[in-house]
């Protein structure tokens, strides 16, 4: 399938006429992708998810979900949803829960029974399927919730903090399920605080701050501006290196010395290596570095004027003393290099 699973334009929500939870959100989620929505507490992520699932009515919204106008109830039969802080009926067993919500999503009886068994096995809850939900731990409830979200064989799966309360092994298994969903052609809309997890499974992400999407795109695209090369070597005592018209600072790193080339390409690194070899230095390594998603996120939620994190929560009118978040789109201004930058995927090291 091609096209977008979600196309959102000018989605706004004002609670009680003064709390601006969402401000003209523009978002595109490609079909068949695992999409991560990031943001600090109170950024409006859950409100956005609730608008998609008709739990909250938008003040203004345009766009489509699975090709149908936003807010159309019939499309929800093709959507699976696991809310954050859900409360399952305590009188149901895991199997009854999955089957009940399958029926609510208009899944035929035979199909939902079969899928309930398959999915409970998939999430590792087969042995607990016929026990009451009240006996489940938080992690087990999350697993069952994922089975519930998938029972109607949805094209779009919206998961709000699915790994909340789940142990590391369980998280790994849930990640595997997400990857499997993608391989089955489903679109996954993941709302999570856990950036490392998002980074591991998501094809693209959006960062929301104070009700606005300030950045969106693939993780590579979001972190591309921070790309740099790091060359480590032995054998020169200079504090700076002059290569062509560039002057590079040399840092001491134990026995090794290091120079960094911000936003460089592979071609730009070659003269530096040539220069070092010409001066009989021993090149120990060349690393392709870029910022982690966490660093990108932290920078996105930081007030550019004060350098401090923007206050959490929705804006009430025009909040005094707060700057507007960075503008929409993949437009986060590059900052200086960070010592904790990570090597990019496929980064070379010699």
């Amino acid at each position: 399938m091609t096209g977008s699973a979600l196309e959102l334009h000018r989605v706004s929500k004002v609670f009680r006429g003064r709390v601006h939870a969402l401000r003209d959100v523009e978002l595109t989620v490609p079909r068949g992708a695992v999409f991560g929505l990031l943001g600090p507490n109170g950024a409006g992520k859950s409100t956005l998810v609730k608008i998609l699932t008709t739990v909250v009515r938008p003040t203004r919204a345009e766009g489509t979900m699975l090709g149908e106008p936003l807010g159309r109830r019939s499309v929800l039969a093709r959507v699976g949803y696991l809310p954050e802080h859900h409360r399952f009926p305590q009188y149901l067993t895991g199997r009854q829960l999955v089957e009940f919500f399958g029926a609510m999503a208009r899944t035929p009886r035979a199909l939902r029974r079969r899928r309930a068994s398959e999915l409970l096995e998939l999430v590792g809850m087969r042995d607990w399927a016929d026990k009451r939900v009240t006996t489940y731990s938080k992690g087990m409830q999350q697993r069952t919730g994922i089975a519930m979200a998938l029972v109607n064989d949805p094209e779009l799966v919206i998961l709000d903090e699915p790994t909340d309360g789940v142990d590391p092994v369980g998280r790994r298994e849930i990640r595997d399920v997400l990857v499997r969903m993608r391989s089955e052609g489903r679109t996954v809309f993941l709302n999570s605080h856990l950036l490392s997890e998002v980074e591991m499974v998501c094809d693209s992400v959006a960062i929301m701050v104070q009700g606005r999407v300030v950045s969106q795109g693939t993780i590579d695209a979001l972190t591309a501006h921070s790309r740099r090369f790091e060359v480590t070597f032995l054998g020169l005592d200079d504090s700076t290196l002059r290569v062509g018209d560039r002057e590079l600072a040399v840092e001491q790193d134990g026995d090794l010395r290091r120079v960094r080339l911000p936003a460089a390409t592979v071609e730009e690194v070659q003269p530096v290596i040539d220069h070092l070899r010409a001066r009989r230095a021993l090149v120990a390594g060349v690393r392709d570095m870029r910022e982690s998603l966490e660093e990108t996120f932290i920078r996105a939620v930081r007030d550019p004027a004060t350098g401090r994190a923007l206050p959490p929560g929705a804006i009430q009118g025009r909040a005094a003393g707060t700057s507007a978040p960075p503008p929409l789109g993949n437009t986060i201004a590059p900052q200086g290099t960070s010592p904790s930058a990570r090597p990019s995927e496929g980064g070379s090291s010699t």
Partner: protein, 354 residues
């Protein structure tokens, strides 16, 4: 239909999970068992194999069949189902709507392809399941007891099922609306009990005021008649001063009775009529299930009455006046109020963000 059945099945499971559901059902069953072990013969009241001899109360006064039917209406319907079982039902079901709209639960339900109106109304119907099951069990068991012990098989008894469920639905619609607004089980339960008390008091108040109004009317008629008789008998020599003063006082009082009575009637017309619905059931059972008149309370006992109107005449006049409140009026206006509450509930539920 798939979603409707799923919600109803879920409601049953929810009720089934609550211990009070089974306690109430067991109590209903025990009441019927108590029915079955009590009997009447020519020597008095029987309990299992024992006989409590009574010359006043035996089959010479009331037949065995009539005895069971009177027990069914007098104790089973008016006392058990209309009071105790209803309170138990309210306690059991008061939490259904607050639970539905509670945080974390409502997201799961309204994010499904079902309209909120249908969701709320089906859940409401699910709440009525409790009473329907209770009344069905009670009525079916009573039907068997009256058949076996009283020797009369009366399918008309099953009219109790729709009418008691209807009676309960008035209260549950209020309970559901309060639960929807406050999201609190305790608030919805307490306010519903208060509402029930108020409607019952208003109905009783209206009957009482009607009685006063009729007594006043009859008193005026009686005074005028006496004055006319005395004038005819004695001509100008008749001393009518005391009668005249009484008449003036009654005329003044009529103004107040009429206004207060009209106020009560308008208020009661708007509200659900719980007491009157049970009275409708009672009357219908008397008519359809061949219940003896003894089951009926007879003319209401007048609370008011002047010196010149006999209580029996006043009681009959009041009974005649109460015929204005036909079953169609009682049920129609009550269902109208219920529809208003449910409509308001649907409106609130459909527009609210969760």
């Amino acid at each position: 239909m798939m979603q409707t059945w799923a919600i109803l099945l879920d409601s049953y499971r929810e009720l089934n999970h609550r211990r009070l559901f089974w306690i109430a059902l067991a109590l209903s069953f025990l009441v019927v068992v108590a029915f079955a072990i009590v009997g009447i013969n020519d020597r008095g009241i029987t309990i299992l194999h024992w006989t409590l001899e009574s010359r006043a109360f035996n089959t010479s006064l009331v037949s065995e069949t009539a005895f069971y039917k009177i027990m069914f209406v007098g104790l089973g319907i008016k006392f058990w189902l209309a009071w105790i079982a209803t309170i138990l039902a309210l306690i059991t079901t008061a939490g259904m709507i607050p639970d539905l709209v509670s945080s974390g639960s409502i997201d799961l339900m309204v994010s499904k392809p079902i309209s909120r109106a249908r969701l709320l109304l089906t859940k409401f119907a699910g709440g009525l399941l409790f009473t329907a099951l209770q009344v069905t069990v009670f009525t079916a068991a009573s039907f068997v007891v009256i058949g076996v012990r009283g020797g009369s098989w009366e399918p008309g008894l099953f009219l109790a099922i729709p009418l008691v469920v209807l009676f309960y639905s008035y209260l549950f619609s209020f309970c559901a609306l309060v639960g929807l607004i406050t999201r609190s089980t305790v608030a919805s339960l307490l306010l519903t009990l208060l509402f029930w008390m108020v409607t019952a008091l208003l109905w009783g108040g209206m009957v009482g005021v009607n009685m006063g109004r009729i007594a006043n009317r009859l008193e005026i008629q009686a005074i005028e008649r006496i004055m006319e008789e005395r004038t005819t008998e004695r001509g100008e020599r008749a001393d009518l001063s005391k009668l005249q003063a009484d008449l003036e006082w009654q005329e003044k009082a009529r103004w107040w009775w009429e206004r207060v009575g009209t106020g009560f009637e308008w208020t009661v017309t708007f509200l659900p009529k719980t007491t009157a619905t049970i009275e409708v059931l009672e009357k219908q059972l008397i008519a359809r299930a061949d219940l003896p008149e003894a089951a009926d309370a007879g003319p209401p006992q007048p609370m008011f009455g002047g010196q010149r109107v006999r209580p029996r005449v006043l009681g009959q006049a009041l009974q005649e006046d109460m015929k204005r409140f036909t079953p169609v009026w009682v049920i129609g206006t009550s269902v109208g109020f219920q529809a208003l509450l449910l409509g308001l509930g649907v409106l609130i539920f459909s527009r609210r963000d969760y």
